[in-house]
Amino acid sequence: MTSAISVSALVKTFGRVRALDGLDLEVEAGEVHGFLGPNGSGKSTTIRVLLGLLRADSGAVSLLGGNPWRDAVTLHRRLAYVPGDVNLWPNLTGGEAIDLFGSLRGGLDRQRRDELIQRFQLDPSKRARTYSKGNRQKVAIVAAFASDVELYVLDEPTSGLDPLMEAAFQECVREVKGQGRTVLLSSHIFSEVEALCDRVSIIRQGRTVESGTLAQLRHLTRTSVSVETTLPITGLADLPGVHDVDATATHATFAVDTAELNNALAYLTQFDVRALSSAPPSLEELFLRHYGDELAGAVR
């Protein structure tokens, strides 16, 4: 596998603020890569560096085998971008904006454009100033997916879309993935990332804290277990890897590190298990675990 995006030790400062502090990111060709992080963690800054809109202070950045700052125009022919905050020209219609972006990118597939407009139920003859946030996003999404490119860079593309449109968006991503194209998807919607992404990178305060397939990342986290027994449960909290125990005599809920799951279950059998349910770790929990102390700090 060749990499579509390769970033290592990327640093970008704005005045005294260190927005990116040694960020790493590897996106392989043909994969859908989830890019997660809380607000202000540097996702959009990274994307702007990848698009040559900002200049890296230090670190190595390669995009489709080129230098995103120096080769911006050549590289931009091969990618499509959907910004997180889509601002359009108030006096242009949605249809005009779609055609303009397509043309500036080097041409767009008319049939595909019309089909996408149908799919996203967009009225292309309305002026952009009358569009809602969701409709402005649809304009950018249609313009991106109507372009024949190798790489799609999507910065929180669905934050204003309703569930039906979200489904239409996921279908588009699966289609381009089926054609062997690469997608970098920055998102806050865990179900979307779980449904679409092959691999995920999680960043925090300008650094990458986790990167890997969902299965790999799940291994690093905890499973929630709820159990009912005949005999009173004792000593559960002392087991290695067991956390957050909430137990009455014969009922307990707890979280367990995925690596210690087997040991915990073996221990429980001595109390005669009558019912057991477990939930696999969700991406959301994974995410919250990384930012849990930040949340706690915010509450404090």
Partner: protein, 545 residues
């Protein structure tokens, strides 16, 4: 208490907080300009005889009357009113219209009004708060103008009348803006309508003064009746300091306009939804025409409204100037003193009278075209700050192509407007003297002498955009204003020669006969270097929102 005005006080405080820098700067610089004009008088026309001489010439010179006012007498107070009062009224007008739109339509366009409207505030609170703040600003402005004039030793009553006249004009234009804010959906369009009314008011006042009647004493005038149609005309009709002047009852006119316009604005606001205008949006094309599909096509589409507005204004203005030229032509036969004054206005030297007249007028056209060009070159910054440049630059559009497209459209517009001015003047004047071809060639030459200075300001705009994007808009307009205070207005304001040299307009030859290669080449080179530096800086820097 729950009425349509609930929350007005809070919103007014919010507006004051947002404008805590902007309004004081407008007010203080307007007051400073007035004070400066008054003090320059002491060195320029120190004696009564000096002032009488200049007025005797002025009353016979429509072009002077157009840009100054109809004189009311030879006292220093009357001379100050003659020289600067109409200009101060324009500044008060722009301060007021911009502020009213900023706190009404712009809030609606950005969605801020919606958030505010969902709190416990009344339907009319936003507009009322804006008007309260702007009326207050004009009262402060008027009071400070009056105080500085009293401080310069002028009679109290006349000083107060002058200040009140300027403040009242600002209030009248605030009322106009309150109506304009109800009509359109975008703040830009509302600002455009309000600014057009301010410009038209100045023009109507100018024409009325130019065609006023000279009184038997030979140096004071009564303006023609259209003066009463213009809020700036009302300022002058108060006749501050004049014998039989200080006509306080004239203030009833702007106040009546305020009452009527505000009632109309409230009625209009009650009939429409938040965020909507009365002039509704029509659906547009569902597909782009091929002409739009390039960086240049996009730049033209974004700038054409601005270009059209300025083009119409400059075209109409040039027709008026061309028709005034006929009157000047007639005067020359009767009064040789006119020639000297017009030559002063045209930057000195002795010229054939019509050459000098057109030179002076073209300098004004040059100022307008420079204003257009500076405004057009602010568009790239607006695109960048509004994050509309970002998705475009993420396509296969290079930075130089993108910025170059905007510069090309703006510059082509400026070249076309200078040509338009020459053609419009030549049509009116050339046809009346039966020499259309000759006048057209001569006027086109005079018009394009303005181009190097205009382009120098354009170069400054591009360089500042490349180097300091976040400050580019303010600094560029400051440079623009400075080049006029130092250049065309410098002589009238008594600015020292060495400072005046800094303005590109001080180096612009007034008439083709004066033209030498050096200033034209040097200014063009400066424009090119600044523009190229701006492009290079823009290519190297981060996009800045």
């Amino acid at each position: 208490m729950n009425s349509a005005f609930t929350g007005t006080g809070r919103l007014a405080r919010l507006a004051l907080r947002r404008d805590r820098v902007q309004l004081p700067v407008w007010i203080l610089s307007t007051v400073a300009l007035g004070a400066f004009a008054r003090s320059a008088l002491d060195t320029q026309y120190p004696t009564e005889a000096d002032r009488l001489a200049v007025l005797r010439v002025a009353v016979d010179t429509p072009a002077v009357l157009m840009f100054r006012a109809a004189p009311t007498g030879t006292s220093t107070g009357e001379m100050t009113a003659f020289g600067i009062l109409a200009f101060l009224a324009i500044l008060a007008g722009f301060m007021s219209t911009l502020a009213v739109i900023r706190h009404t339509r712009q809030n609606e366009e950005t969605g801020r009004a919606e958030m505010i409207g969902a709190t416990a505030v009344g339907r009319h609170a936003g507009l009322t708060a804006a008007l309260v703040v702007v009326v207050g600003a004009n009262v402060v402005l008027g009071a400070l103008i009056a105080l500085t004039l009293v401080g310069a030793g002028e009679p109290a009553a006349g000083s107060l009348a002058a200040g009140a006249g300027v403040g009242a004009a600002g209030i009248a234009f605030a009322a106009v803006a309150a109506v304009a804010a109800q009509l359109t959906q975008s703040a830009r369009a509302a600002n455009g309508i309000a600014a057009a009314v301010v410009g038209a008011s100045y023009l109507v006042r100018g024409v009325a003064d130019a065609f006023g009647e000279v009184r038997p004493n030979g140096y004071t005038m009564t303006s023609a009746w259209p003066s009463w149609l213009s809020p700036i005309g009302w300022t002058m009709q108060m006749r501050p300091f004049a014998e039989g002047g200080n006509r306080w009852w004239v203030l009833a006119l702007p106040l009546a306009l305020l009452v009527v316009a505000v009632a109309a604005a409230f009625a209009l606001a009650g009939r429409r939804d938040v965020g909507m205008g009365l002039l509704a949006d029509r659906p547009g094309p569902g597909q782009a025409s091929p002409a739009l599909l390039s960086p240049l096509g996009l730049a033209w589409r974004l700038q054409r409204g601005t270009a059209l507005g300025w083009g119409i204004a400059i075209g109409v203005f040039s027709l008026v100037l061309g028709s005034m030229a006929n009157a000047v032509d007639d005067l020359v036969a009767e009064n040789s003193g006119v020639t000297g004054t017009i030559n002063d206005l045209a930057g000195g030297g002795a010229h054939a009278i019509m050459d000098a007249f057109f030179g002076a007028m073209m300098a004004t056209i040059g100022a307008l075209v420079a204003g257009y060009l500076v405004q057009a070159l602010m568009r790239p910054r607006a695109e960048e700050a509004g994050t509309r440049a970002e998705p475009v630059l993420a396509t296969a559009t290079g930075r130089l192509t993108w910025l170059g497209g905007h510069i090309a459209v703006a510059t082509a517009g400026a070249v076309a407007m200078l040509g338009l001015a020459a053609v419009a003047m030549a049509l009116v004047y050339g046809l009346s003297v039966h020499d259309l071809g000759g006048q057209l060639a001569h006027l086109a030459g005079t018009a394009y002498l303005q181009l190097p200075a205009v382009l120098t300001l354009a170069g400054l705009a591009v360089a500042l955009f490349g180097l300091v994007p976040r400050f580019a808009v303010g600094l560029t307009w400051f440079g623009f204003a400075l080049s006029f205070v130092l250049g065309p207005y410098g002589a009238l304001l008594g600015v020292p020669e060495s400072l005046r040299e800094l303005s590109p307009f001080s180096h612009t030859p007034a008439v083709p006969a004066d033209a030498t290669a050096a200033p034209i080449v040097v200014m063009s080179a400066i424009a090119l270097v600044l523009g190229a530096a701006g492009l290079a800086w823009f290519r190297r820097r981060d996009l800045a929102t």
